[in-house]
């Protein structure tokens, strides 16, 4: 296979004072692949995601990203203007709490259209139509395109956040506990939606979750983090059904049937 990874993280380290939250973590992400990062609270998985996504400066390491234009760039060393532009166009970030990723008082259409406007789209009719198309994609009643998400349910807000990210057809989406805080039935619907979108758009995704059930259904491959380090990685069902590392065995045996 001549394909190359879209993202290569090497030796990523992040310290908070004397505590090392992420230590020498590396992984690859391949086109169209969903990589799950699992571990307990405090294992460093969200810090890792934030460092990769440029939301938190890393102390050390590289995040090589192969851009749509071709050349690979180190996101951590890139000039800020370029980095932010890439993050806004070719990357997406879905927050656990949709309040952090949405403008709650701006209409659903405005939320979806914002990235397009940032890219220079200046035709109201086209922007609104694009928003309507995306609302349909994420199974939100298109009649609500002009409503502000403050009045939406948690599941709808989360789906809107996903639409808002995917509207520019990003190549990499980072998700921090995207199904956390949702009712189980709502969670199932979101999982189904994410699977469909990943398949249809070919986007690559990194999903941080503490829920092994979510990881099983969404991720092609898993990394298990403990104390800021990756202790085991591999094919999702292999890792869950045949865990090798003592910590992974503990994690899997502690979960309610995954």
């Amino acid at each position: 296979m001549k394909e190359q990874p879209i993202l290569e993280v090497r030796d990523l380290t992040r310290r908070f004072g004397l505590r090392t939250a992420v230590r020498d973590v590396g992984f690859e992400l391949w086109p169209g692949e969903v990589l799950g990062i699992v571990g307990e609270s405090g294992s460093g998985k969200t810090t890792l995601l934030n460092c990769v996504g440029g939301r938190l400066p890393a102390d050390d390491g590289t995040v090589l990203y192969r851009t749509a234009a071709g050349p690979a760039v180190d996101m951590l060393a890139l000039a800020e203007a370029k980095r932010r532009r890439l993050l806004r166009t070719e990357w997406g970030f879905v927050h656990q709490n949709p309040r952090d990723g949405l403008r709650l008082d701006v209409s659903a259409g405005g939320n979806v259209g914002e990235r397009l406007m940032a890219l220079g789209h200046r035709h109201y009719g086209n922007l609104r139509q694009a928003a309507i198309d995306w609302l349909a994609q994420v199974e939100i009643d298109t009649a609500r395109v002009d409503d502000a998400p403050r009045a939406f349910s948690g599941g709808m807000q989360q789906r809107l956040q996903i639409a808002r990210n995917l509207v520019t057809h990003p190549r990499v989406v980072l998700m921090d506990e995207p199904t956390g805080g949702l009712d189980v039935s709502v969670q199932a619907r979101l999982l189904d939606l994410l699977r469909r979108l990943v398949r249809e758009t070919g986007v690559s995704a990194v999903i941080v979750t503490h829920d092994l059930g979510v990881a099983r259904l969404l991720a092609d491959r898993l990394l298990v983090m403990k104390g800021g380090e990756v202790v085991e990685g591999g094919l999702t069902d292999r890792l869950l059904d045949d865990p090798h590392h003592p910590y992974t065995q503990l994690l899997v045996s502690s979960a309610l049937s995954v």
């Binding site: 296979m1 391949w30 692949e33 189980v184 039935s185 199932a188 619907r189 999982l191 189904d192 699977r195 398949r199 099983r216 259904l217 092609d220 491959r221 591999g234 094919l235 069902d237 292999r238 059904d241 045949d242 090798h244 590392h245 003592p246 065995q249 503990l250 045996s253």
Partner: protein
């Protein structure tokens, strides 16, 4: 795939489980398995409970990581080594070459049966309408009432779930099929349909490896029996 070359060639396959939560107990599940599986044959694994039949099947599917030996799979006109293969390579094998009917149906709770069955086709890029049409035809053949098509199978009976599981795998026409108790929990009529499906797949050239406790099905399907010896007791 040429009929005189094995679809699957297994040599000296070993699998050991180390149970860290139980003081590092090691269990030898497979010790030196050799097996060739050719296109258009149905090999039935035989052996007492605990002999490692399911373990072998899971190692072939990549669900368990083998510790030693070799599993070569004929894939895309070449032979791919599965032991130690990268996850994405395993994914590629699963998408196009290896079909696996497990004993349990594991799906996202909300997804309708018909979409579960259609998914392998969608993953290969087949249009949704076409995929659903083919999924419906297969479910119908497996006697799933059409009123159930749009319901998630979580509420189905055990036999219905099993048939959805079978449809999910058989729709994709994999050249290698791994079937772990495909006819368990089915009544006679439905067992007949499933046996027929397997026969058809074999006649179309699929290489089939099956675990079948049901004597009638085994009788009807097996072109060859492969005996797995009972494994040794746990070693500390």
């Amino acid at each position: 795939m040429r009929a005189d070359e094995p679809a699957l060639r297994i040599r000296s396959l070993r699998k050991t489980f180390t149970l860290h939560l139980r003081g590092g107990v090691r269990i030898d599940a497979l010790r030196g398995v050799d097996l060739d599986l050719f296109p258009a044959e149905s090999v039935v694994l035989r052996g007492p409970s605990g002999a490692g039949k399911s373990t072998l099947m899971r190692c072939i599917y990549g669900n368990y990581a083998a510790d030693g030996g070799s599993i070569r799979v004929a894939h895309d006109g070449t032979s791919v080594e599965l032991v130690g293969a990268a996850p994405r390579q395993v994914h590629d094998l699963r998408r196009r070459t290896l079909g696996y009917v497990s004993q349990f149906l594991r799906v996202i709770p909300r997804v309708p049966a018909i979409d579960i069955v259609a998914e392998p086709l969608l993953a290969r890029g087949i249009a949704a309408a076409d995929a659903r049409r083919r999924a419906a035809a297969l479910l119908e053949r497996l006697n799933i009432p059409s009123r159930l098509f749009d319901l998630p199978p979580a509420t189905f009976s055990g036999g219905e779930q099993q048939r959805v599981n079978i449809a999910h795998v058989f729709i994709a026409r994999y050249p290698i099929l791994l079937l772990d108790e495909p006819t368990a929990s089915l009544d006679d009529a439905n067992r007949g349909v499933v046996v027929e499906l397997i026969q058809e797949a074999r006649r179309d050239g699929a290489a089939i490896l099956a675990i079948l406790h049901d004597a009638a099905a085994r009788e009807a399907l097996a072109t060859r029996i492969f005996d797995l010896a009972p494994r040794l007791a746990e070693v500390a």
